[in-house]
């Protein structure tokens, strides 16, 4: 190597080391583009994906206590304010639309609000029971139920059947619009999370 080659090598190494020296400052101003997501699941009484109903029987009687565990996880990169909304639907009412992240139009029966740190998981116990039920020839009407020891007037009807479902939606507080929205933004995409569990009403 002659002198010119040595000069080139030394200058190159110095430039690289100077860039490394300033890299913490550079990275501090580069935004984190990692994917934001939340996870929502309904688990059985024991925190597992089983035993959602006593004796695994989805036929629910009036006054029968049903216990579930609500699983919520946040990977949003920051503190999040979430609202988990329970809605009671029959088989014909529209469920939430995952493609366009549109919530179900059914009214909220019960709501649980909480905050989640980034990478935090919450297991929230939930219990409910049917209180006011009317069954006629071709109609089953749930008038009221008890949700986490709070009474709730509902009035949901099912015609020619006795099947109902709980739809559980995850709403996230949006920092920009300062209101709860169904789902969350991750880059240019809008994502949402919801669950449903079917059950039958016995007289």
């Amino acid at each position: 190597m002659d002198l010119d080659d040595w000069r080139l090598v030394i200058v190159t190494i110095c430039i690289v080391l100077v860039i490394i020296a300033f890299s913490p400052l550079i990275f501090a101003y580069i935004p984190d583009e990692g994917e934001r997501f939340f996870a929502l699941a309904i688990l059985g009484e024991n925190g597992m994906a089983e035993k959602y109903f006593p004796d695994d029987d989805a036929d629910v009687e009036r006054g029968e206590n049903i216990k579930w565990m609500l699983y919520v996880y946040s990977h949003s990169g920051e503190l999040s304010y979430v609202s988990i909304r329970f809605k009671l639907l029959n088989s014909t009412t529209s469920a939430p639309n995952s493609t366009f992240c549109r919530a179900s139009a059914a009214p909220v029966v019960h709501e649980i609000n909480t905050i989640l740190l980034d990478n935090e998981t919450l297991l929230i116990p939930v219990q409910w029971s049917l209180q006011g039920v009317r069954i006629s020839e071709n109609r089953t009407i749930i008038e009221s139920l008890m949700f986490n020891e709070n009474p709730s007037q509902v009035h949901v009807e099912a015609f020619d059947e006795n099947s109902f479902r709980f739809v559980i939606e995850l709403w996230v507080y949006d920092y920009e619009s300062m209101e709860f929205k169904f789902g969350w933004a991750s880059g240019d995409e809008q994502n949402c999370a919801w669950n449903q569990i079917w059950f039958n009403v016995l007289g």
Binding site: I10, C14, A21, L25, A28, Y81, N113, T114, M178
Partner: protein
């Protein structure tokens, strides 16, 4: 008879009016509590984005949200007194959180300013050291190179 009937009607209407007024008051207080809780959350969120320590505030914020949820459920079940009480607790807790978050934001601002300044100073000094060492190494290589050339020159007699 009619006087008595009139009296009964007036009492009945008054009770209904008071009930409605109390329900309205509880509902208004619940809405206010909801807004305060949202403001508290935004304050803590801002503090987190500034790099502040939010661990103690998160615990208080969860409590404020529980009061708010409790107030909402109490209102739905007709317990207006309970709802108003819990709304007041939610508001009080949220106000404390907002105040504390404001103080912590000032501390976080100073800390992040100091951190940036220290980072710039360290990076600049480190770069200067690299350049100086690089220059000294270049000088060493150059003088070594020249010495090697001089040694290789034949003696002139």
């Amino acid at each position: 008879m009619f006087t008595l009937l009139g009296l009964v009607v007036v009492v009945f209407l008054s009770i209904n009016y008071c009930y409605a007024a109390y329900e309205t008051e509880a509902s208004v207080k619940l809405d206010a509590a909801g807004e305060y809780v949202e403001l508290a959350f935004l304050s803590v969120n801002d503090l987190e984005r500034m790099g502040g320590d939010i661990s103690s505030l998160v615990v208080d914020l969860k409590e404020a949200i529980q009061y708010f949820d409790g107030s909402k459920h109490a209102l739905e079940s007709g317990d207006f007194t309970g709802s108003v009480l819990l709304s007041r607790k939610a508001v009080s807790e949220s106000e404390e959180i907002i105040y504390e978050a404001f103080n912590l934001k000032q501390v976080a601002k100073i800390k992040s300013g100091n951190l940036l300044r220290n980072q710039v100073i360290f990076s600049s000094l480190y770069s200067l050291l690299i350049l100086v060492l690089g220059y000294l190494f270049w000088r060493f290589i150059k003088s070594y190179y020249i010495r090697q050339i001089m040694r290789a020159k034949p003696e002139v007699r």
